[in-house]
Amino acid sequence: MWKRKFNKWQRTLAPYFFIAPGFLFYMMVTFIPAIIGIWLSFTDWDIISPEAKFIGLKNYVNMLNDERFWTAIHNTVTYALGLIPGIVVFSLAIALLLNSKIKNITFFRTLFYLPVITPIAVASVIWIWIYHPRIGIMNWVIGLFGFDRINWLENPETVMISLIIMGIWLSVGARMIIYLAALQGIPRSYYEAAEIDGAGKWQCFWYITLPLLKPTTLFIVITTTIGSFGVFAQVNIMTQGGPVDRSLVLVYYIFQRAFSDLRMGYAAAMSVFLFVVTLVITLINWKLLGKDVTYE
């Protein structure tokens, strides 16, 4: 009798025990700080003074009038617009090559994936040397095509393209694996049917593969966009936002305001702005992905 009661109780309570640590630790580092961040964005707190003063929308008004904020937005969007097509084209191309019934697929997959698991700090340091004006191999590579040497990271005209090239190298492998999984999920019978109808390889690609990859492409575009809005480490290590603010991206600017100037409220306001932008992009994602493609 007692045992039965105990069993019933422990079965009702057990899930809460199982979930509690994982749930609470996660909320502690995401949900709670996000709420604090939203509150902070309406204050003028500098972390030193004991109390934060509520100043309403002043941070947001200042933000919209801040020239460097708009520079940061411009640079971040430039980075995203350069990165997204690069990632989509290259990761799809590599996935298609790997999907064409070749051997050693694991070997090649490893090659393309290695940059993804490289520590970003180490990758940034290596790329400083790759872009070195005197000894860097980037100048050697473009030299093979007959171009002159470039001072990649210190030239305002090339600093952004340098970060974009590195960004493609960094994450093309991760997206490629998602494309590869999607390609392998397309039933063979589709292609067989098309071949019977006399469709060529190119037509198969254009009328079967590409349309069926639409949800995957959309997913990759969204995640790459959000990822590129968060670019920080390589900027902090390689360029510090320079030269002349040409690589000043939003997150770098947020950190500068927060930790160099101790303007926590202002930094929080820019973070909230970023949050809203991300949210809008995610909602568009959901809307568009709602019309999912099924294979049945």
């Binding site: 749930f23 609470l24 996660y26 700090a121 000894i135 999984a181």
Partner: protein, 292 residues
């Protein structure tokens, strides 16, 4: 080696005029993959080989690849000039502890969400998924303030405390455990097994592949962490490799050979893990479609 054989095979086919249009398109595929692969690996080749070169050999243009006078002197000097062992041990410490904790908490939570109906289950799970959408720059400034108020700035606890759970982990484990048949659990219950024993004796042994995947992801994630350590650590004795390498680079701007030696040593653990566990990595990515 496999590649060389493949190329030789193709040459042979060419000789014997067995080369069909299928083979020609195969050649193009391989050629494109090899060129792409070389371009992707070029930074690694150059860095790894540079780690074995004296500085004179590396400060040349056009760059050379194979070292003429290979040397281990760079590695020795890294250990002499900076407390590299300390940084390494720090990194291991702040990687291993959160990895163990995260894998435990995520597996427990994943089990809870997968196999129980309870008041609030849908809302709590939805809350986790929704919070995943919050970009990190939004949380990181307030998180620093929380750590500051709690007196955790510049401590090991501060480094570790943000990595004790993961939404990706909870989601991954839930997806995996949900496929374990309920009959198995009910049979154990009829035999008088408690819920906790069910977890340890039935669920845990069956989730091994997912546990490996999650462990590998969490480990590399923490090993590579840069932004949080950058914010929370200020004293040298707490520095991790991700903080030490850029600092080292700043101090030895004329010694890429030393920087390369230190870089090579610090990315070795994740690369080795990946090469041996890549099946699990790929499963994890395709299961969740998430990596960041």
């Amino acid at each position: 080696m496999l590649l060389m054989n493949k190329i030789r095979e193709l040459f042979q086919a060419f000789h014997e005029k067995r080369l069909t249009s299928i083979n020609i398109s195969k050649i193009f595929v391989y050629l494109a993959l090899i060129i792409g692969g070389i371009l992707m690996m070029l930074p690694f080749f150059w860095m790894s080989l540079g780690a074995f070169k004296p500085v004179k050999e590396i400060m040349v243009f056009p760059p050379t690849f194979l070292p003429e006078n290979p040397t281990l002197q760079n590695f020795v000097e890294v250990f002499e000039r900076i407390p590299f062992v300390r940084y390494y041990l720090n990194t291991i410490f702040v990687t291993v502890i959160p990895t163990i904790v995260t894998v435990s908490t995520a597996t427990l939570a994943g089990f809870g969400f997968a196999k129980y109906k309870f008041w609030g289950d849908k809302v709590l799970f939805w809350l986790i998924l929704a919070t995943m959408m919050i970009p990190y720059p939004v949380t990181i400034v307030p998180l620093y303030i929380m750590a500051f108020k709690a007196g955790l700035v510049d401590t090991y606890a501060g480094l570790i405390v943000v990595g004790l759970s993961s939404a990706f982990g909870i989601f991954l484990m839930r997806q995996f455990i949900i496929n374990i048949p309920d009959d198995l659990l009910d049979a154990a219950r009829i035999d008088g097994c408690s819920e906790f024993r069910i977890f340890f004796q039935i669920i845990l042994p069956l989730t091994k592949p997912a546990l490996v995947t999650l462990t590998l992801f969490t480990f590399t994630g923490h090993w590579n962490a840069y932004i949080w350590p950058l914010m929370i650590v200020s004293s040298d004795r707490l520095k991790t490799l991700s903080l030490a390498i850029p600092m080292f680079q700043g101090q030895y701007v004329y010694n890429p050979n030393l920087v390369f030696a230190a870089s090579l040593m610090s990315l070795l653990p994740t690369i080795i893990l990946f090469i041996f566990g890549q099946r699990y990595f790929v499963e994890g990515i395709t299961l969740s479609g998430i990596k960041e």
